[in-house]
Amino acid sequence: MLKDSFDTPRRQSVTGTLFFLLMSVQKVIRMFWPLLLLYVFKGNASKMMEPKWLIGLLFLILILIAHSILTWYNFYFLIKDKEFVLRKGYLKRVVIAIPFEKIVSINLKQGLIQQVLGVVQLEVDSAGSKKKEVAIYAISREIAEALKEQLASYKKDSSDSEDSLIAEENIVEQETILQLSLKDLFRISIAKNHLRGLLIILAFGNNIYYQLKDLFESEVNLAADKTESFLEHSSTLALAGVVIFVLLLSLIISMADVFLRYYDFNMKSFANAFSLQSGLIKRKNITIPFSKIQRLKRSINPIQKWLNISNIQLVQANSIEVSKEKDKVAVPGCDDEKFKELCDKVYDNPFSQPTYDTKPQKVFLRRSFIFLFIFMSVPVFALSLKFNWMWYLEILVPFLAAGIAYLSYYRRSYHLSSDFLKINSGLIAKDFSIIEVYKVQTVHIKRTIFQRRNGTASLDLGMAGSVVRIEYLSYDEAIRMKDQILYKIEVTKKKWM
């Protein structure tokens, strides 16, 4: 059909102007709503009727109309040289070109405004782009369907193979890797980071406090005063009671969280994908092809070590197809053996290659000590202006800072082999990450003015879904590592997702 060829630049439907107008009105209202509220509630609404305000409003409306017409007029889309091209902007000209192979998915959407106007929105997701960046906001459904078909036709070969890949999995026998019993869940919840539970309590408590305060201002103040005086006059026993109560509460919260999320957790492996099922009320079902795993993280805190369990996180490629929440898939309660098994499933012999082992330079220790010292001293000083006894805490600060700095230095080490990069880090918990070198997307090398003086550098490896930081290597080492990683990326023909 000639009508559906997209070789020449096309504009959106004319109704698109209306859509842009409504969107910008919405934006303006969103920007100024506190101001509007102020006017309405302060009884100054009549002031708005004054000529100077009306003229201003008229002016604003005219600008908005001009803006939406210009936006529409300067918005083109076309297909050229196997690329999907968007040209937009009148003050700032933007040209976006996406090669077909990079398109991950094409979505048609229809918001409320678009429904009324009888147009649809076409979004092209290309793994690297932000969600709203590559979108046509207002085109008729037929054109959208045709465009989608054209874009998808080039993509077909790759998606076909992926479909067959999943179909293949069903034929190959499944193997259950991990199943969590109630006992396991209980162990997991004990070893959880209860700080999170505490924060939830605090957040809720604060929220409830403020809401109550709004409703019964005086009563709450009275109650607050009472508790304050109670706290001041009560014995240490009562205080200990409060602490134990809070701890118990946070344990219960962690437990509820774990049970809701991981009840009847079930992890199966197919030929080239994992499938996970879990959840008490809402069953979650996730399938992750091995190739999409960008990073495998493991963390063990002291309690987990004692119970011989660990938390494993699989970081997936961050495309919009997979929502943010699903990007990081947690596998709780793995022991050492299960962890090895998992690694061997995902990667090809990750532990047998000889590695080049390195650590941050000693300067890192000094830097983090100084940083932590200052970082912790500031609140102590600030508080000591109010409470005199806080001064004594300052004595503890250098020791604490030294301890933390040493731990983080001691825990940190990097191991590069020809295919893998393994990173140990962590403070109280022991963290371990393993990535495949060729899945790195960008390599940054950074040297602050201090680092230049002491001959160190830091590497940032941009991955899909996360950033891997390698800090305070000697400059030589960093450069060599960078060259090695770039080389590996450039010679590997395998797809990174």
């Binding site: 040289d81 196997k82 690329e83 003050l91 700032k92 000209r93 933007v94 040209v95 976006i96 070109a97 996406i98 090669p99 192979e101 990079k102 290309s126 793994a127 690297g128 782009s129 932000k130 590559v134 490629a317 961050n318 495309s319 290659q353 000889p354 590695t355 080049y356 082992d357 590069l416 082999s417 020809s418 790195v440 997307q441 960008t442 390599v443 940054h444 090398i445 950074k446 040297r447 602050t448 003015i449 230049r452 940032d460 941009g462 991955m463 899909a464 996360s466 950033v467 450069i479 060599r480 960078k482 060259d483 090695q484 770039l486 080389y487 990326i489 450039e490 990174w496 997702m497």
Partner: protein
């Protein structure tokens, strides 16, 4: 792990450099690449940015600081509560920031540059912190050319390169002419389709 340490020890004795880890322990015929054989990052020659870009930066920041000082003066004359002292403090801060910013622009400019190799693209920037960003062509998702109002007049453009990595770590190639931007874009797209 222990085996590796022993192995490294042996190699270190044999060859007086410790970058020998890439060879396999037992099967030396396994074609692993030595670090010394691969393209070196240090040897890259960077092309400096157009001097016009410095002008653009100067214009942009001058407007910014001008607006700031206007706001400051208007505030001073409109509100009685702001004493001369506070105005003086604000003004000094403004002056300090202005001086720092402009000296950084002048001093940092020679350090900016880009380089294109056969398989990757590099951009370096920064005055206090030197940063070099490297993006292999086969990891580029898509490219974008941006032109602001002033840069349009100066015939400058920004080439934004998107990868699947963290968006904060994407590469923006600034301070090149629109023509160069189109050219580089052409190179990138041809490489990307070639690889796929």
């Amino acid at each position: 792990m222990r085996k590796n340490i022993i192995f490294r020890f042996e190699l270190e004795q044999a060859i007086p450099t410790h970058y020998t880890y890439i060879k396999m322990t037992t099967e030396l015929e396994n074609n692993q690449i030595w670090l010394s054989d691969i393209p070196k990052g240090e040897s890259i020659e960077f092309t400096s940015l157009l001097p016009k870009y410095k002008r653009l930066l100067n214009i942009q920041w001058t407007t910014f600081f001008a607006l700031l000082i206007i706001a400051l003066i208007v505030a001073y004359f409109n509100f009685e509560e702001i004493g001369l002292v506070w105005f003086g403090v604000a003004f000094t801060l403004w002056l300090i920031f202005l001086l720092i910013k402009f000296s950084f622009i002048q001093l940092g400019f020679p350090n900016k540059g880009y380089a294109i190799r056969q398989k990757d693209l590099h951009y370096k920037t920064g005055y206090l912190t030197h940063k070099t960003i490297s993006v292999p062509f086969n990891r580029i998702q898509h490219v974008e050319i941006r032109q602001g109002f002033i840069s349009k007049m100066l015939d400058l453009a920004v080439l934004k390169i998107y990868t699947a990595g963290n968006s904060a770590h994407d590469l923006s190639l600034k301070g090149i002419s629109l023509e160069t931007a189109e050219e580089i874009k052409q190179i990138i797209t041809s490489k990307v389709t070639q690889d796929a």
